[in-house]
Amino acid sequence: MPQVSKLWARRRLAATIALVGLAILTGCGAERDARTSAPPTAEGRALKVYRHGMDESPTSLDPVQGSNVYANHVLINAYDTLFAYKYLARPYEIKPNLADGWPTISEDKLTYTIRIKPGVHYVDDPAFPGGTGRELVAADIVYSLKRHFDPATRAQGAWLWQDRIVGLDEWKSAGSDYDAEVEGLRALDRYTLRIKLTQPYPQLLDTLAQGYASVVPREAVEHYGREFAIHPVGSGPFRVVSYDTTRIVMDRNPDYRQEPVDLAAEGYDPATQGGYGLERIAGRSPPFIDRLEIHFIGENSARWNSFTKGDEIQYTQVPNEQVDQVLASKQPVRLRPEYAELYHVYAGTEAGFIFQTFNLSMPEFGYNPDPERERRNKALRCAVIKAFDWPARNESFYAGIGQVFPGIIVPVVPEFDPGLSRESVTRDVEGARRLLAENGWNAENLPVFTYGTVAGVINRLMYEQFRAGLKQIGYPPKKVVLKQYATFGDISKAWKQAELPWVVKGWGLDYPDAENTLQLYYGPNGSPGSNDANYHNPEYDRLYEQARVMLPSPERTQIYRRMNRMVIDDCLAVTGMARTRIYLWHKDVIALPDREIVGGFFLKYVDLEG
């Protein structure tokens, strides 16, 4: 008998374990099902689901923390912004979005009056009384911009409007009371917003197209508190239904305003964009898909396997290691036939660049109390720049398809000068050696060159290539020292505290205007600001201050180009290269993907065959 009861006890235990396991499993499934379920289409057809692959995940979905393209892919599709970028126009062009037409601008360019579209509603959410989304009004825009000046929100976008809008900085100093008025940021009525500037700000409309400028309802911010960052409540084309570390699922906002696509107004160019089926969205109101899934896949091999599987993600950026396998030709970019049969391709130059700059606050390479040493330092910097091998860098790490250019005005902005001398990006070992010798530099007195980077194989290889280049001009390899940082946060701290003599960096444009890269050398932006070079040139600063308040014009372009020339002539940086990004997407997807400028604004227009 004891044997039998033991047996029963064991079976009971096994059954209990099995039941608990099943309960966990089914419970988990049921929860996910509820979180991701979408309403069936009214027409009873299959859901149109577009699965987008992205190489990183956003950290926060609170617009005030939407500091990168990954967050913006979600933000500008869950929320509305006053302005947006045209879907297809290149160079990028801005257009009214939530704004009901262009703003009225005062004669002195200091007052913008912006009408917003009436009848725009937030998605339904428990944050609202009765759970029904209310109408978006001008006061919401005032509230949303004020949040950037509230220290409690940990906002990252205040730099866009700091010292620009009358009374906003003072509002912050007075304690960020949302009920207190700001003179320069007022809702005149339900649908009219007035912005008063301290000085003309030609890029203002661009800043109002950023994810940072997403319009949020105060009720939702207060309802969710800190968890508002994972519960977006907007009025955009999609609403978020689930979000975790691997993907975000967004369903079509059924109440999104009806705005038929005018392809010509969006900048459609049949000659270059004619093969993507975009004509089929003309005259129809987006969004065209029922569900948007954005999958965050950091590992290139996993992303590629998922994309080529056929029934998983439908879009990917081609990883560098796949470029030779996929392309039949790099110039122009053309797919091999077996890939061309399955996928669309688009190759675009990034809206940004990679560059490496000296930190002039370090007396070894930059400003020095001794004028003679300062003169020799400049010669040393120029020699290092001459030693850099851009073609090798491009070939080794960017599949040879990056666009190397002189200076810091990047190719995608209208102010780019294709005729600028390429001397600063042309390797000249003999010239570098001569410069060092003429200025009294030799293996003994050359300073230790600390090359800071985030730990990683690719970064290490870049350092080795850089060091090999310096060796050829007579820089002793043992004096080119690698300093590795565990995380990007760590090296970012070192940059902001001006601890490194050499800053290796990439910069993505916030808006398509050369001002965005020229500010990288504006004196008052020195560390901890974005002027990591800590370059202080009164003439450069004067020109910057003059140009920053000017509207686009040939005169402004000339000023920009003069500043660009100063950066080159003062030997501040090894610069630069704009990477070429190659995007592939399945043939049944009707889209022209582009992750540059803001990021993800094309997702609203994606459609699927059938």
């Binding site: 099943l22 966990i24 499993l25 988990c28 499934g29 049921a30 996910r32 099902d33 991701t36 950290t59 926060s60 979905l61 609170d62 923390q65 500091s67 220290p151 409690a152 940990r154 906002a155 990252q156 976008g157 205040a158 730099w159 700091q162 800190r226 968890e227 508002f228 960052a229 994972i230 975790d244 570390t245 691997t246 993907r247 999958h295 896949i297 950091g298 590992e299 091999s301 996993a302 396997n305 998922s306 080529t308 599987k309 056929g310 998983e312 565990a486 995380t487 990007f488 946060g489 760590d490 970012s492 701290k493 902001k496 916030d510 500010q519 932006n525 901890p528 600001g529 974005s530």
Partner: protein, 317 residues
């Protein structure tokens, strides 16, 4: 009653361990971990804005005050919000730990059960070809990087370049069939690697046991091999086996399986922990470290109780 008293004593004696682990970990986090200030700042921050963020993160508080807060959070299970996403840490862990458990459990069980069986077989045929075959396989499992195994298995079983019979990535689990679909390849990869380490370890335990007098006596009395291995060898090997298995559990529960989760797109706790480490998300890290310490105390307790269950000679005094 004896077990309950022992458990209470053990739990109380585990408090210094938890305090020690949390103190050292927090010290490392604060003084050597990533500083999140600079990731939360905008592009042209002023010194005042830097000070504001540091204040928001609590970095401007003295170390001991921050540590005391940490202990209070652990004691009250009020773990705060993630500095990165703003999500409640308790909700975040509650959402991701079950996923990781479901993911790693089959591999963990199979990796140990199969390893024990292979170890018994190898030890029984010691120095003969089955032993050499199994040990050769173990060495292969141990030698190949887990990352390579994951990538290779993904290509072979999931991708269009291979068999393509399982999903490359995802976790849409609504039924047992879905679960099997998503967990099959990660489990195969895990078992492939785990078998190498586990089999070698268990084989050495079994070989040692086979040299004992009682085994030799049983063999002399003509005990059949299967009975000998199960009754006289395996049961006496249970103490090291239990130790290895039980002490693996806390890491499985809390740390998940980062590589598998990342490559197969599974929203488990491994990725959450990794992201917290690299970004310096201290509320998440503090919770993970604290819970790991607690789990180890519980594992120690469970191990002692299981020792007693498999060997009545073991005293819980």
């Amino acid at each position: 009653m004896e077990v309950l008293q022992y458990a209470l004593r053990k739990l109380v004696s585990g408090i210094p361990l938890i305090l020690g682990v949390t103190f050292v970990s927090f010290l490392l986090m604060v003084y050597f971990g990533p500083d999140q200030t600079y990731q939360l700042l905008g592009k042209n921050p002023t010194p005042e804005q830097i000070a504001e963020v540091r204040h928001q993160l609590g970095y401007d508080q003295p170390f001991l005050v921050r540590y005391a807060d940490y202990l209070r959070e652990l004691a009250t299970l009020d773990l705060g919000h993630s500095d990165s996403t703003g999500e409640k840490v308790s909700v975040l862990l509650g959402r991701t730990i079950p996923v990781s458990l479901l993911l790693v459990l089959p591999g963990f069980v199979l990796g140990n059960v199969l390893a024990i069986m292979l170890a018994l077989l190898a030890a029984h045929f010691r120095s003969r070809w089955p032993d050499k075959l199994i040990m050769g396989f173990s060495v292969i499992g141990m030698s190949i990087s887990y990352l390579i195994v994951i990538i290779a298995f993904q290509v072979i079983f999931s991708s269009s370049y291979g068999l393509g019979i399982f999903p490359v990535r995802g976790w849409n689990v609504h039924s047992f069939a879905d679960y099997f679909n998503y967990v099959a390849v990660p489990t195969m990869a895990t078992v492939f690697v785990a078998l190498g380490y586990n089999t070698r370890f268990y084989r050495s335990v079994v070989v040692e046991e086979l040299t004992r007098d009682h085994v030799r006596t049983a063999r002399a009395f003509g005990a059949p091999p299967a009975q000998l291995l199960y009754r006289d060898v395996l049961k006496n090997c249970m103490i090291p086996i239990i130790t290895r298995v039980v002490f693996s559990i806390p890491l499985i529960v809390i740390s998940g399986a980062l590589l598998v989760e990342s490559y197969f797109g599974i929203p488990g706790v491994g990725k959450v922990t990794f992201d917290a480490i690299t970004t310096g998300d201290q509320p998440v890290l503090k919770a993970v470290v604290g819970l790991t310490a607690v789990m180890f105390v519980l594992a120690q307790l469970l191990t002692d109780i299981l020792y007693r269950a498999v060997d009545p000679r073991v005293s819980l005094g």
